[in-house]
Subunit: 259 residues, 2 copies
C-alpha cells in the first residue's frame, strides 16, 4: 500500500519542488511505482518534468472542483520521462481552488478522497505543496501519512518552523490523527558558513532523530535540470545533487523498512 | 506625497522581504521618511526588525478586519531601530484574513483605504507581499503606485514571471489603472554561472529598461542580519549586500526624480 508524503513548508523557495521531484525520481529509478501530485498553482513540478502550460490538459484543479466523482484522478495521471514515475499536473486555476472549495462540505478531505481509489497502485505518493498554509496545503496534510519538511539553514526559514509544527499538531489533533513528521531535510546546505552549521545544530537538538542524516548541498545542476524538463538523475546523474537525493531515497526506505 | 511600492512575486524565496527591508532602510538612511508594511502572515519583515511574536501587539491584521475605521493604521505603526523607518507589523492571523475579507464589499480596496489617511507622512511606502497571488497580494497591488519584482536568476523563477505580468495587466485593466512596473531586481545573482548570465540576458531583452542596472549578489551577511533584528546597513554597512541595496536606493531615486 502507498505511503503518502506531503512535501510542505510555508516558507518560500526552500526546495519543496526540487525535493519532491528528485526524491520521487530516485525511488522510481529503484523500480518502485511512484506518483507525484503537483498541488501548487505555480505548477513548478509540472514544468520541471516538461509539462508546460496547456489549457486543454486536465489537471488536479479539474478533479478537485468537479462535482461528485465526475473526474477521477486516474484520468488526470500522466506518465513522465522516467519509467515508474507518474504525475498529476497542476495549472494556474489552482490559485482559485481554495475559494471555490470554501463552501463545500468536507472541503479539507477532497484530495484524500481523490487519492483513495488509486493509491494502491503506488509504493509512494509525493504531494508538492505551495508556499502557504492554505486550503490546498491543508488538503495535502489531511491526505498524507507524513510530512517531509525541506528547510534552508537560514534564520528566516527557522523562524517559520514553529508555525508549521503548530499546524501539524492542529491537523493531527483533528482532521488527520495519523499524520507523522517524516523528517526535516536540510537543503542548499553550505557547511562552510557559521549560519549553516549553527542552524543545523539547533535543529538536530530540537528535533532529535527527525533530521535526515543526508543534507542536500547547493549545486547549480539542480537549478539547471528543470529547464531541461528532467529530474537530476536523468540530467546529470554524476552531480552532487543527484548523489544527495539518491542518498535521501535510501535513507527514506531504511526509515520506512522498520515501520 | 508618498510613492507606494508593492514588493511582490508569487515565487517563494526570491528575496522579497530582504529587498523590502534593505531598500526601505537605505532610503531612510538618506533622511527620507519611509513606511514598511508587512503583508505576509509569515511576518518575516517584522521578525527581521526585532518585532517577535507578541499576541498583545496590534498588527495589520487587526486594522484590516476591523469594522469601518475602528483601528486606524496610524495606531498600528511602530518606530524601528532606524530613524525615519517605520513599520506596520504582521502576525500569523493574516493567514486567515483572506477568508475573513472574502464577503466584504470592496475587499480588494481594504489596504488602500487604510493607507489613504497616513500616506502623506512618508516619501516611500513598501508593501512586503506573501509568496502567492492571493487577496493580500491583490490588496497590495490595488494600493500601490508600482510593483517592484525581486527575481532570482533561475529557471523556475523565470517560469513564474508570465503569471505575475498577467496579474499586473488584469489589475491595471480594472481595480488599479495607475499600477506601473517599477522594475525587476535580480537577487542572489551569481554572474559566474551560465544559468545566471543566460536568465539575466533574457530578462533584459523581454523587459527593456525595466531591469535595474544594480544586481544583488549572494552575500551571507544579508541572511545573517535578520537574526540580529537589523537591516544590513546597521548590521554590516561595509558588506557587499549593504553596498548593493544602497546602490538600488540611488537608482530608484534617480528613476523617480524624472517622474
Ligand atoms: N540544492 C540546491 N542547489 C541549488 N539550487 C537549488 C537547490 N534546491 C533548489 N534549488 C533552486 O532554488 C530555487 C528554489 O527551489 P524550489 O523551487 O524547489 O523551492 P520551493 O520551496 O518549491 O519554492 P516555492 O516556495 O516557490 O514553491 C529553484 O530555482 C531551484 O532550482
Ligand atoms: N542576496 C542574498 N544573499 C544571500 N542570502 C539572501 C539574499 N537575499 C535573501 N537571502 C536569504 O534567502 C532567503 C530568502 O529570502 P527572503 O526571505 O527575503 O525571500 P522572500 O521572497 O521574501 O521569501 P518568501 O517567499 O518566503 O516571502 C532568506 O533566508 C534570506 O535571508
Ligand atoms: Mg515549489
Ligand atoms: Mg518574504
Amino acid at each position: 500500500l502507498a505511503k503518502i508524503i506531503a512535501v510542505a513548508n510555508q516558507k518560500g523557495g526552500v526546495g519543496k519542488t526540487t525535493t519532491a521531484i528528485n526524491l520521487a525520481a530516485s525511488l522510481a529509478a529503484a523500480e518502485l511505482p511512484v506518483l507525484l501530485v503537483d498541488c501548487d498553482a505555480q505548477s513548478n513540478t509540472s514544468a520541471s518534468l516538461g509539462f508546460y502550460r496547456d489549457p486543454s490538459r486536465s489537471s488536479l484543479y479539474h478533479a478537485l472542483v468537479a462535482e461528485s466523482d465526475d473526474i477521477p484522478l486516474s484520468t488526470v495521471v500522466r506518465p513522465t520521462c522516467l519509467e515508474n514515475l507518474w504525475l498529476v499536473p497542476a495549472d494556474r486555476n489552482l490559485a482559485g481552488a481554495a475559494i471555490e472549495l470554501i463552501s463545500r462540505e468536507n472541503r479539507e478531505f477532497q484530495l484524500r478522497d481523490l487519492l483513495e481509489p488509486i493509491k494502491s497502485r503506488y509504493s509512494y505518493i509525493f504531494l508538492d505543496c505551495p508556499p502557504a498554509l492554505d486550503l490546498l496545503t491543508l488538503n495535502a496534510l489531511v491526505a498524507a501519512d507524513s510530512i517531509l519538511v525541506p528547510l534552508q539553514c537560514e534564520y528566516l526559514a527557522l523562524e517559520g518552523i514553529s508555525a508549521l509544527i503548530e499546524t501539524l499538531d492542529r491537523v493531527r489533533g483533528g482532521l488527520n490523527p495519523r499524520l507523522e513528521l517524516e523528517g526535516i531535510l536540510l537543503t542548499m546546505f553550505d557547511d562552510r558558513t557559521n549560519l549553516g552549521r549553527q542552524v543545523a545544530a539547533e535543529l538536530r537538538t530540537h528535533f532529535p532523530g527527525k533530521v535526515f542524516d543526508t543534507t542536500i548541498p547547493r549545486n547549480v545542476r539542480l537549478a539547471e535540470a528543470p529547464s531541461h524538463g528532467k529530474p537530476i538523475l536523468l540530467y546529470d546523474v554524476r552531480s552532487k545533487g543527484a548523489e544527495a537525493y539518491i542518498q535521501v531515497a535510501k535513507e527514506l526506505l531504511a526509515r520506512n523498512a522498520n515501520a
